[in-house]
Symmetry: D2
Subunit: 143 residues, 4 copies
């Protein structure tokens, strides 16, 4: 099954649909069923002590999963997150971007399942792992 959107197309889509946050994310690598995306950490993502906040880590995991799914099914804004599980495992490095490495482990007709590991740039031990499920709109309906 081939990619329906490449990194450039995902970039354009993100800018259009999530203009408030699109510039926080950078697509690093895209393959079939696999995507890496970075969160460019800014002040607003930080908690006291310089660590990246939980909601920011959630947002990164969600964007990684969403773009991974869209790359395979095309630009369907109606795909919605239905379930997310996250383990926060280590404190992110202060002042380092985060990278989510997302794997699409199921792409069904109505549900897609992804899992990812999230790293501080330059560190080989993950700061978090997450799994996300998306409910997919019926084929033919696109937004």
């Amino acid at each position: 099954m081939a990619l329906r959107m490449d990194a450039a197309a995902l970039r354009v889509f993100l800018d259009q649909v999530f203009p408030q946050v699109a510039d926080e994310f950078e697509i690093i690598t895209l393959q079939e069923h696999y995507l890496e995306v970075a969160l460019k950490v800014k002040n607003k993502h930080l908690r006291p002590g310089g660590t990246v906040s939980g909601p920011s880590i959630f947002a990164l995991a969600d964007v990684a999963a969403y773009l991974n799914v869209l790359s395979m099914i095309g630009p369907k804004a109606l795909a919605v997150t239905t379930n997310c599980g996250i383990d926060f495992m280590r404190k992110p490095r202060a002042n380092a971007d985060l990278i989510a490495k997302s794997q699409l482990v199921k792409l069904g007709r109505s549900l897609a399942v992804t899992q990812c590991l999230i790293y501080s740039v330059g560190d080989c031990k993950p700061v978090a792992r997450a799994n996300l499920t998306y409910s997919l709109p019926p084929s033919g309906i696109q937004a």
Copy 2:
């Protein structure tokens, strides 16, 4: 087991430790093992269409769990979220605040477990449910 912090003390703690986001949250009700907190929805929490973003819902669930735990153990900033599971069930109402109703279902020596339902104000069907686990610092260590 009695409350170690009341709503006013939680309010002061939140303002000190999370000054960036503290004013987004309002404590509605506090009892032993039970807490309700509102997210005062602003533009920055919204996605196109007026719905509240996933990261904002995560943030609300996390704050509800955190304050619920702290009310029982006292002001220990070192309590950290280790696991979170969320089901996103319905689209939040546009332009309505969200309320998380959080239940503390385990308070052990090293782990605390909470679960919550999240509602749009004025709606009886929950928009999300979440469970969060916190790792607690050894007694005596406080930050």
Copy 3:
């Protein structure tokens, strides 16, 4: 929305569809969106020390959720578990049955979401909490 199956009908359905395990479970209480079911603990559910095994607790949570959903949608064997999250919080009592108290928090067209607390009989502190999501077959298809 009214019940489509009462406790007796659920009992018959369970006996027919899961004959291997049906006699391990007893329906205690059934209301709209709420069900209590007991696991009658036998030797095969135990681990060394007399504690109930994890798979047995999972099985109870799954049966509770399944029957809760079926009571509202009717006898559709094709409803399948798609996601489950469990927190194991306390060691179950030796030689005591377990009771799951299951709440149906969403009943949509294609997904149903439940959550439950599980108790050892006679103990007010839960041994586990669980959330389960079911994928529902399109209306009209029944098995």
Copy 4:
């Protein structure tokens, strides 16, 4: 960090601590932070239609995680599952064994986190994915 138990030692431990179920599982591959274990599917694991039951899949995920953790910390029976998340993604093949491929993504002082994909033998698409967290006993205490 080197292995503290090899496959043979894990085998002996499993036979001693879980004699009721030990013969259902076979260790296939063991490396640092990585383990593959098979569930040798028998009648008792099946549901009508020949598919493997949910509790059996849970049991496999749990054993895989447990052995993966023990291989690194030694034979500590007191390590207990505190959290588990599972996505059931595809129907297992009838009459085929299952293999869990488990990755240890965090080994901390008090918590270990694993994730696994589970496959029907001979199929490259996973039937399930799971994440499990273990609470570890303080060093020095062994059972």
